[in-house]
Symmetry: C2
Subunit: 151 residues, 2 copies
DNA sequence: TTAATTTATATCGTTCACGATGCAAAATTA
DNA sequence: TAATTTTGCATCGTGAACGATATAAATTAA
């Protein structure tokens, strides 16, 4: 009976993995004009919520490793949306702050969440049903955050 | 208050993206000994379910592009788990089949789904609650599968 | 104070994921 | 049959993710 579970259709993780990829794809029409990738958009969300944060705080909020975030930030700096300055008290830190361009982008990005909701409702039915997954996803994330291979 | 929706905590996609990454991380203890990555494991699932499939069928089942799957298969062939042969009727096709080594691996992988269920229950509470997301995830996937940027 | 350890970030190598493009074999149309 | 289009797969370039490792600054211990 164990073989039965080895079927693709019985795999929750495959669905999460696929849903995440496709949902990220749904952001493309809105992020492409801004020149942002989805992970870069996440960084912008973090910075719009609070400017001037060390790399570590950003990585922590996104549940990513710094070796993922650092190159991400380097590309974003090159694009002119953020800058990275040495920390004053702790000079190991790199403080990430928005440039003027980065601040202005917030206005253009303002409607992305509603656009996405609309798209999802149009294509995948009820947004409510999707929102109902949030507490479960949060529990899952919280539970797996500190397992062996996730830190 | 459009800005409110720009908060990270209000984003469903971020949760999907994170849950997918962390769940994939939870597979590591079981896949590492076999030398498999998670996407490679997915390919093995597809082939264990039905051997000898063209690249396109595999890509289609995993909802991936062939330009993602092709290099994946090349690495798996080099590892000795699969082989790729020219199609008989249609010589454009590459038929992917399991090697002896690939077939044997199924036995070792047999218990991975149960192990993962156990891990999730231990760390993230109820597996039932997680299973309840499946219909919603399926609707989401089905709905987004054929949008502009997802083909 | 000096030495050992921890912390914050960066670099490197490998593997996805995917848009764009290329190419040859098949299918379709003229 | 010849020309055109489509299809199946591959290659290339870019941007994540992440394990492993490196480095310098801060912290702690000796």
């Amino acid at each position: 009976m164990a073989y039965e579970q080895l079927k693709l259709e019985n795999q929750v993780c495959f669905r999460l993995y696929t849903a995440a990829r496709l949902t990220m794809g749904a952001y493309h029409p809105y992020l492409d004009p801004l020149g942002l990738t989805y992970p870069q958009y996440l960084v912008m969300l973090v910075l719009w919520e609070q400017d001037k944060q060390p790399v570590n705080d950003i990585a922590h909020k996104l549940l990513l490793e710094t070796n993922t975030v650092t190159p991400l930030l380097q590309r974003m700096e090159k694009a002119g949306w953020i800058k990275r300055t040495k920390g004053k008290e702790d000079s190991r830190q790199r403080i990430v702050s928005l440039t003027e361009k980065g601040v202005e982008m917030r206005e253009q990005a303002k409607h992305i969440p509603e656009c996405l909701s609309a798209d999802i409702i149009k294509n995948a039915g009820s947004a409510e049903e999707i929102m109902q997954m949030i507490p479960t996803l949060d529990k899952l994330i919280e539970g797996l955050k500190h397992t062996t291979h996730n830190k």
